[in-house]
Amino acid sequence: MCLAIPVRVIEVRPEQKAVVDLAGVRKEISTALVEDVQPGEYVILHVGYAIGKVDAEEAARTLELFNQLEQAQSAERPIAPEAVK
């Protein structure tokens, strides 16, 4: 439910803090809820706290899945999105 976004850890600080980056926007967050955060990793940020990590391999696999669909089964019918304009 709650708003959360993947951000990259660029610096780990004492007292379970880290600095994260999102397209040049930086913010100090708490990593108290996630074990062993390393610079370069992506975490999911919610209300100032990392609540989990992003698994890069799984992300790649999911993106592949989106495309595999197409490769595996190819377009059977022509794509006809609703005409917007």
Binding site: L33, H46, G48, G52, T62, Q73, I79
Partner: protein, 379 residues
Amino acid sequence: MKYIDEFRDGEVAQKIAARLRAEVSPDRRYSFMEFCGGHTHAISRYGIEELLPANVRMIHGPGCPVCVLPIGRIDHAISLALERGAIVCTYGDTMRVPASGGLSLIKAKARGADIRMVYSAADSLKIAAENPDREVVFFAIGFETTTPPTALVIREAAARGLANFSVLCCHVLTPSAITHILESPEVRDFGTVPIDGFIGPAHVSIVIGSGPYEHFAEEYRKPVVIAGFEPLDVIQAILMLVRQVNQGRAEVENEFTRAVTTEGNVTAQTLVSEVFELRTTFEWRGLGEVPYSALRIRPAYAAFDAERKFQLDYRPVADNKACECGAILRGVKRPTDCKLFGTVCTPENPMGSCMVSSEGACAAHYSYGRYKDIPVVTA
């Protein structure tokens, strides 16, 4: 933005949409409930419904913590600020939720209540430290995603001996709400709300893991696909649900593997159990009293429990009669079924909580979807 932009790709969306069209059986209807407001918001904001086949219908669930917060709890927060002189800290989302007497936190603030919008639970602790001669209450709402930070600040307040700090705990639990819906007569008996499957929570599941949903799949024979909040996640999850239905499966699948594991975030879970315990019952707007559906602060941290500290007696307050929020949250009605929608009830003057949060079904439809109700002629 890595892990964001790739999951909003319109071209990939068209491909998945095409697949979906190809795979749905034209002769049946598919009804899926997205439990989470985050999914509701994504569906509206990105216009996902336009990409769905006509016989796939999305039912908006009760997974917006702002929407399910009953009036009586907001009344508590307001009275702490207005009558007890406390500084009440709250996430911005709750500011406009209608409470008793035509009030809301934002209106109470306009009448002199000291209400501070915070970005993080930690900010409320900072405010407490800076105002030692004032009572500072953090109005804590949210599902399992938002609960761990609250647990952390309670523990920190205890460690630092911040005697003027307390938490008005309104944290609620996702699985109990899903159970409640599945047990409701509309779903179970009358079939007025035909639910063929669930899109399972994204960020809640990061914390609790995918494990807790197995029960629903098994017990109620409902497919569940846990999905991220990006639009490709949503449409992919719908495709996965359609496939389960087509194949007669009822399993828990995880589309959001990049962040959700089976066991979830154990650190966070442990922390939450240390600070909170189950309430035997809690009122949800729209759903009524739901057993074992919320948390309260453990006796060990009683000094930081605003309910105890200020001896708050919870009294349920009836919603506006004409407001259909309750039925909408149960999936029984849609926003446009409400007579007040878009006339008396607008985001400026919300009559019900579903018109407040942009994750609320009414607000989402009002802000993003109204054109669908009205024929449009382009030049």
